[in-house]
Symmetry: C2
Subunit: 161 residues, 2 copies
Amino acid sequence: MKLKFNFKKGNAMESNQFKTLISEEGLKSTRQRVEILDIFLNSTGHQNLAEIYARVAKTNPKIGYTTVYRTLKLLTRLGLAAQRKFADGETRYESAAEGTHHDHLICLGCGKILEFEDDGLESLQHRIARRHGFKIFHHRMELYGYCSPCAHKKTRIRRKG
Amino acid sequence: MKLKFNFKKGNAMESNQFKTLISEEGLKSTRQRVEILDIFLNSTGHQNLAEIYARVAKTNPKIGYTTVYRTLKLLTRLGLAAQRKFADGETRYESAAEGTHHDHLICLGCGKILEFEDDGLESLQHRIARRHGFKIFHHRMELYGYCSPCAHKKTRIRRKG
DNA sequence: TTGAAATTGAATTTCAATTTCATTTTAAGG
DNA sequence: CCTTAAAATGAAATTGAAATTCAATTTCAA
């Protein structure tokens, strides 16, 4: 993922850069969009809409849920956000500024999500694609297990019914 | 995934084996459950509930959607079905009898889902797990791209807005 | 055969995702 | 600084899959 701009966190230029980027798409820069972008970029992790909305509402309770929803969709389209769906089916957003492609380690105990990158994965991907005559555009890999604190908490693992 | 029984497709023993397996869990074997199991095992692929229900309803229109829903959940718990959630967020079920663990190649053109197995993935998984102090129980890997017929249909790729 | 416990299934609820639409705001052109 | 068309907003409504409720029915162990 290549960004046209480097959006620096907590940088006052953000709003101007955003204005330029968004107008290139024939869209309009608004107070709400800039606020949501600002809050979104100044946070880390994989958050669902409710969490993002909660944070936005704390700063500006006048901004509606719908606008946050639509803005996150917009940011995804602009390449500033990335949408993720893990096994629980919930949609989460992550700042694209956080880095390039990576995959996820998910703790079944505490829900913690770790990111990782591995070059071996790419060659593996190509090998499998070639074998099946596919042209791959992207992949998704998630490893589910227990992080070391959670692994030590209980010997017996509780499963969800 | 190790099954306690080998459920053979179209085998009259199915119902008795199921009876045994289910009673071990303190649950009851019912006409509906056996019918749903039978239909489910006698099909392949990754199907959502609506598709499974449609097939069940064709055989026995008296069986309700709720029962199909609950039975698939039950089969998943018993290890006879496996739940899959791909990037579109829809829940799909696949017969566990179809094989052991595998991953998926998904065509963005026609929606076709291919299965693959790759030993390299396992060692990769262990390496990454070790690096992050995780104890991995399972993983999920999906490769998204175009199968060879779809890749040849159009040069330009149409993307979802 | 009996009856407690489990299952069924239509209807309902839940809940996130999405759409609608009347009102407001943006930004480009005077 | 106005005007205005196009876009954005946000409350409310809608959608759709997943999950639950509950009265009626069925199962199965005794």
